[in-house]
Symmetry: C2
Subunit: 224 residues, 2 copies
Amino acid sequence: MEKKAFESIYQEIFPFWKEISEKDRDYICQNSHAVTYSKGETIHDGNECSGVILVRSGSLRLFMMSDEGKDITLYRLHKGDLCMLSASCVLEAITFEVFVDAEEDSECCVVSGPAFAAVSERNPSIRIFALETAVGRFSDVMWVMQQILFMSMDKRLAIFLLDESSRIGTDTIALTHGQIARYMGSAREVVSRMLKYFSNEGIVEVSRGGIKILDKKRLRTLAC
Amino acid sequence: MEKKAFESIYQEIFPFWKEISEKDRDYICQNSHAVTYSKGETIHDGNECSGVILVRSGSLRLFMMSDEGKDITLYRLHKGDLCMLSASCVLEAITFEVFVDAEEDSECCVVSGPAFAAVSERNPSIRIFALETAVGRFSDVMWVMQQILFMSMDKRLAIFLLDESSRIGTDTIALTHGQIARYMGSAREVVSRMLKYFSNEGIVEVSRGGIKILDKKRLRTLAC
């Protein structure tokens, strides 16, 4: 991929792009490469510094792994999403291991970790962007963990959706998030976020018309 | 408390203190207050912006809470520690609720959230410090959650310490972290971090001579 192609992608994604010098912009582009990952391929493995990964198509999965090889999905990255947690040399405060693999064939741009780190040393706006991206992702992960491990909100929502779908006899539930929250005795924001999580997992599809159940089997597993 | 007293505390704690203008330093001190919390007192309650809290003595506990009032301790703050997660108006990327209470009578300095946010808007070094503090804490929390919920490292270490203590017939286990790791088939770093977590929880005391069990009852609960 040519410098110009990276340039046009980065100016869309990086809010700091116009604030940094042309030299630094060139440096980032020169240290970028286009990579295509095949479905199932391991992209990032624990502690190494694999760089800053930008998804152009397909989807990546971030997860934690146990000694025995079990894993917990933290979140998924889709088109336009940026992975900072794979660049431990950029964010030294990150001290736990994450893994990344490709869920589908995925086209990505990867900025080398040391190059991104060098430029962010010189530009506080880049450092702030990288840290804010990481804090935002951590917040999402904490929230999901809290809901799943602690309040069983995933289970409660799965039960509600299955019950409602069998009651009305279709897979599309034409209720607003606020209505569902009231039925469940929860808050609209909680229901919306959990539906977004279900939707990222491919369990439901959320549209203006309501919630369509795509994967009843997984919903049943969650409900048990 | 007088401006000078805040000044002498902050120059120890804030790495950015000498980089910002005298005006901004004054502004932070003017918007600080000394607070004494009584044991058991709620200090921060979910979404509100309670400001940046610096512990001068005693200890605070950060936790998540469920709808039913159950809680999970995320970590504890001791003398010299700083709580950024209570300042959601400073770090907008934080979108989940945490709670803070006093575990002992605690003396703290509190910088008002809006004042800290205003100064950090003008000073990237403050913004970076605040974000790095948050990312470091998140990393610790993620690590603990991963170990406890996923790998049962807390359980495995508790079992090891109890077995070893009963084998040698004393409560002080004179082994290095590396030796324990080898016995457990784990990594030294993992054992050290989990021992630090146990120590913060008051379950053990870690010194050069070894690990002293302080709370055998809690260790037994963890082991079951």
